[in-house]
Amino acid sequence: MLINVPESVVADALRGIAAAHPELTVDVENRVVVRRDAPVAGQVALVSGGGSGHEPLHAGFVGPGMLAAACPGEVFTSPVPQQMVRAAAAVDSGRGVLFVVKNYTGDVLNFEMAAELAEDEGVQVAKVLVDDDVAVSDSTYTAGRRGTGATLFVEKIAGAAAEEGAPLERVEAIARRVNASARSFGVALSACTTPAKGSPTFDLPPGELELGIGIHGEPGRERRPMMTSREIADFAVDAVLEDLKPSGPVLVLVNGMGATPLLELYGFNAEVQRVLGERGVAVARTLVGNYVTSLDMAGCSVTLCQADEELLRLWDAPVRTAALRWGM
């Protein structure tokens, strides 16, 4: 690993982000990344956060048209409430703050505590829970579906609505609509190595893969002998479609887990597009890259989001962040 000591990876990364992105205000000690012009008068502010190790999520999505602030926790560990409280105070223009929370017990509990504390301080807070991972059945036997790739869609699209000046209830409603319209499925071709553990989080022989993984280096629901890109695309897309049943065109995110070469990821995208074509699903936009990662895990995930005209317009709206940028 390219680190100093496991204890300092997050602080080190924040210093590195600060140096590379003068358009961000980085509070290294308190672990809050804020767009420099915050609070922006008249705008609802989106605040997200979660464990580190998923970069560019979330700090790479801070900027005009997307997040107002991000709160990185330790690696794969949700941030503590104080981070979100501080972030909310820094970005609230008086029009309220939307917390974008990936559905993990830790994130839910810490953001919940933060919301209470921030409201005590007079900030109006709404929350949206992202839970798009169809590999987890949403039942009383689980902690509910995990938040994975759809987080990018929620943050981009609701962020665009906030940038347009929409009020908190509307930004929240749009965020919920995006989450409700999006589903993901992920596959690991290797485990990942966390700084704290220093060795792969699980054993996965080269000839096997894990289907239905999350983004925390955890094993998936099922292990199988290695499949081809074509077979993986069939499996992942069908898993998503079975649950989503889109009636119109979709946004597609073909996401790398961190160590899958872009060459392979684009090849996988070709297969994803093929299956979608075979299933009669029209594609409105496609994004390919390492956006919601799991450190150095090899693998990929597919997220589909059914997009009506409004969502599509907000998706296309200008955005200016470290990892996602267009139109400005």
Binding site: P6, G51, G73, E74, V75, F76, T77, S78, P79, V80, P81, Q82, Y104, T105, G106, L109, N110, M113, A135, V136, T140, Y141, T142, A143, R146, T194, A196, K197, T201, F202, G214, H216, G217, E218, P219, R221
Partner: protein, 204 residues
């Protein structure tokens, strides 16, 4: 009677135990979670010890609420708010008496564990820290708060009993049946916490 010193010893002992067992906790968490439980608690209890060092003796309740707040503000993850709430609620239930009777602690701990159950929505058998905490609280109550050793033993047994369970809460639940056969990291750290309580008594 148990004074603030006793509760400080408990926290220091818990911190030492977590330090010693951090790798094992992380190893357990890497089998059915995300490989951070050891590091999480190490960070948290180190902060607890540091905060306690900077504070005057105080009361039993103050020691635990301070410890709870430290965990909440330094651990993150699922275990931060849960353990933080456990200690804060237990501390609050102890009020501001300078000394508390063991039976009072037994009662307060029951309230703390109930708060954990409420916050996390888990119940016995879900393969979480509650599977160690609840038996410990029961054992302590049965002995009218007198036998911390029995509580520690019950917590240990409870942690072991998570091995054959299928997780229904927390990250391990994502694994479905594959969570079976592994001991829950949180239940394991809970057993350490209760063992540290027994240790604090032994050192009286």
């Amino acid at each position: 009677m148990l004074d603030a010193e006793f509760f400080r010893r408990w926290m220091t002992g818990a911190a030492a135990a977590v330090d010693r067992e951090a790798d094992r906790l992380t190893e357990l968490d890497s089998a059915i979670g995300d490989a951070d439980h050891g590091a999480n608690l190490q960070r948290g209890f180190a902060a607890v010890v540091k905060a306690l060092e900077g504070e005057p003796a105080g009361t039993p309740g103050a020691v635990l609420t301070l410890a709870g707040r430290q965990l909440i503000s330094t651990v993150g993850g699922a275990s931060g708010p849960l353990y933080g709430t456990l200690l804060r609620r237990t501390g609050k239930a102890l009020g501001d008496a300078a000394e508390v009777a063991p039976v009072q602690l037994a009662e307060a701990l029951r309230a703390g564990v109930a708060a954990v159950a409420q916050l996390g929505g888990a119940k016995a058998g879900d393969k979480t820290m509650l599977d160690a905490l609840e038996p410990a609280v029961e054992a302590l109550a049965e002995s009218l708060g007198e036998s911390f050793a029995a509580a520690a033993e019950a917590a240990d047994q409870g942690a072991l009993a998570t091995v054959p369970m299928q997780a229904r809460k927390g990250r391990a639940s994502y694994l479905g049946e594959r969570s079976i056969g592994h001991q829950d990291p949180g239940a394991t750290s809970s057993a350490l916490l209760i063992a540290a309580l027994a240790g604090a008594e032994g050192a009286r």
